[in-house]
Amino acid sequence: MIVKQRAYEAKEALLMPALYAAQREHGWMSPEAMKSVARALDLPPATVKGFATFYDMFRKKPVGKHVIQLCTNVTCILSGSEDLLSMLSDKFGIAPNETTTDGRFSLVAMECIGACGTAPAMIVNTDFYENLTKESIFSILENYK
């Protein structure tokens, strides 16, 4: 793993970016991924695990090729994200936190992603989409093969 320890005074400060890098490589926060971060930063593995499991955006289990993270917090729900969620579930045959059998998509019901003004919103992998409608959501997902 390539993480340079430059601008950071304490190793802990580097933990979040290191975990992201590890997740990019390993796909999720596998024990090996957490251990490699611990080794790279010379931090106790348990400390790394505490961090990694605290944040929802670090995956606790393997995910598909693309991760659909649909916000299901108050504003998005009021703007119809619950319907969108059940549509996605029906279409791909998976419940939230599950992965399609072909490994293409994982579906995640997210807490607030800070887009209340343009709700409903979702993040696919690291791409952000807002003002979603029943139509737009599927055409967006078409781009993720």
């Binding site: 024990p31 957490m34 010379d42 106790p44 593995p45 348990a46 400390t47 695990k49 505490g50 499991t53 605290f54």
Partner: protein
Amino acid sequence: MITITINGKKIKLNKPVTILEAARKSGIHIPTLCDHPMLEPFGGCRLCLVEIEKMPKLQASCTQQVTDGMVVWTETEKVVEARRAMLEFLLVNHPLDCPYCDKAGECDLQDNTMKYGPAIGRFKEGKRKHPECYDDPIIVTNMERCILCSRCIRMCSDVQGADAITITNRGNKSYVEPFSGGRFDCEYCGNCITVCPVGSLMSRLHKHTYRPWYIEKEVETICSFCGVGCSFVAQIRGDSIVRVETRPDLGLNKGLLCVKGRFGFDYTVSSARLKSPLIERNGGLKQTTWAEALSHAAGKLKEVKEKYGPAAIGAIASGLCTNEDNYALQRLMRSVIGANNIDSTTGFFYGPAQRFFEDIFGQGATLNPMQGITNSDGVFVIGADPSAVTPVLGLQVRAASRKGIPVVTVGHMSGLKRFATCSLNPDAFSEPALLNMLISGLMKKRPVCGENIFFEDIIKKFMLSTSDNISDACGLGKSDIDKAVDELNLMTNPAILIGRQVVQRSDASVLLLQLSVLIYLLNGRIYLISELPNDQGLVDMGCQPDTLPGGRPVFSDSMRKRYEDSYGAEIPSAQGMRLMEMIQAAHEGKLKALYVMGENLLLNLPDTGYVKEALLKLELLVVQDTLMNETAELAHVVLPACSWPEAEGSYTNFEGRMQHVKKAVHGEAMEGWKIISEIAKIIGVDWDFLTVVDILAELTKVSPVHKGITYSEMDSGNCLWPYNGEPLRDIAKDFVLPDTKLIKREKCSGRSYLSADQQLFHSGTIGRNSSALNLLMPASYARIGSALNEKLSVKTGDTASISSGVKSAELDVIIDPDIKGMMVFVPNTAADKGALSFMKWSMNKDFKNPALDGNEIEISKLRSKAEEVAA
């Protein structure tokens, strides 16, 4: 002066403390769940809320500092209401399974709920479910009960420094877990169990075997594993110790323990426990009566003495035995047998190291109080990893490091890796070259000051020739040396911790002299890493071939006379044989009888094959021990002695603190000192020792340093060197400069050397009989580094074959990337595969101890773990 009022009571304080501390000091109880005296204030549970006049809101007393004139109420209606509310929240997820929970009866949550709380909550939602976890052999976790006070986490990170556990996830789903989620794979100190206020972290060893209120007796005593001498309370039910508990204010360990002290005590009830005397008959050991065993041992001793003279008899003392036992053995040898042939494995490291430093710096130079480590401004560690062999001492080094004190370590030290500001890991056996560079670097920055002309003369004579090629000399870079010198130069009164590896080698005197120079230059205080509970006591009791009790030299007529008068017998003036000399003498047929007390020679001596040959040649081998072992199997008479919790006595720890070891349970065997005095009586000398009090009384009369010591003084916890006695002073004039030519070694690269691994979970001799400790380290192994593994290409768990000049065996391999070069570390815990059994030795000419350096071995891959599973 600060004056505050709590519940109407005026309290005067010299310095600002927290309200909680002030209340505790004046005997006012405030309930807490997250605060603990062994931890820093946290302010998480809000149970300690109190009302402070002129403050609108309730305040957490564990974090709120007192100010002058503050008026505090701890049990007002408002406070009680708030506590009830906090408890209701805590119980939202708590299973309230008290009838099934081992903590019931000593649970802070239970007690506080009983006092303040509603036992029923208003939440309709179900409680979280998380099954009790039995993945770990020692620690059971029940996370349904956890109140997330984080005491365990803070203990493990901030005090123990193991950082083995964490709170995973978030909110409702937060659980305390080790990295694996199941097995802890940690240092197993159990200190997290001590601080958990509820039944979330518990010892599996006594799970569901009793209730706290079934404890019939509590005995404050001293741990029997290492030279730190931690205090704890042994809890007794029937005639066995069910658990050991600590108190935050008890002993020098202040509530902390290590894995051996906390979980290892069950060696005293292992199946290897000796209960009745055995005598050798027709080639086997048979049970016999005390009368027969004692009279056989005594009769044979007398016979050998008459036939071959007293010098044909030797005795081995033990740092595992009490002062009283060691004193009695010394008296038997000197006054009844009439020989100074008494030594022990303490003479391999602790004894000679202490003597060396005392010769230079005066008697007692190595006896310094433990808290000096965290109060110093630097720590230098060499020769052993204190966090493995003397774990609570290791914690002091970690605490010093946490305070920002520079810590310099020399050698492979896994336990201090994250705590050293500078870890120097030189090539095998190149420590003298490294120390040379450190000293000359330091002397450039800090010239000698003329304080001790005598010693400075020695320093000048002791020419330091530093090699230009640093990497060639010790395998380190110039920047490493410079950094270390800079760190050392910051120190003005550092703690210098010295362990075994420094002395068990052929150039020990060079290293010790170098260390003395370093100590002198740095104005350091010496701490010897004492591996046995009574290394110091054994030395003080005169169980060395050249010293009498109190450290008086045996060759001094005036001093010897004092003991002769008291014993009514003549003591030979010539120094007796050292342990390895006795073994050699036995091998040559010159030593005819050996009395071994509490020592397994076939585990703790090098080249055990040779030792065994020597023992087999003896006309009489008496083994007095608590556990059956390989040495006892060869004995003519085996005398079962009381084990550590079964007899009264005392240990003297590495600080020179004498501590009272109390009888906690009844044992079937006989006290060690009593066995010895019975033998003396049969030979014809009656000592009139009825209890240990008589022995201590005699010791305090004959030994000038031990004047007037009593067990109650020991109980006060402050029976510290130099007691009320007269230490020897000013012997430095006699100091003879050892041969300080650096040994030329062939370049070690490419060869593998064997070293004894320092094991946290094991103490060898007694530890291997603890079923609890054996759960953690079931078998012997070979730990190797990456460099060696490039050659071997094995994986952890694979089996390798290891052979030295004297022995070959198979061992499973553990890969440890921190090990430098080609070293192979094998623990000395199993007699058949212990590190020492592979080792050749040579007699160190200065200390007459076995030098173990340069033990080359062959290691090769035998089979991989996968193959084994398939087969």
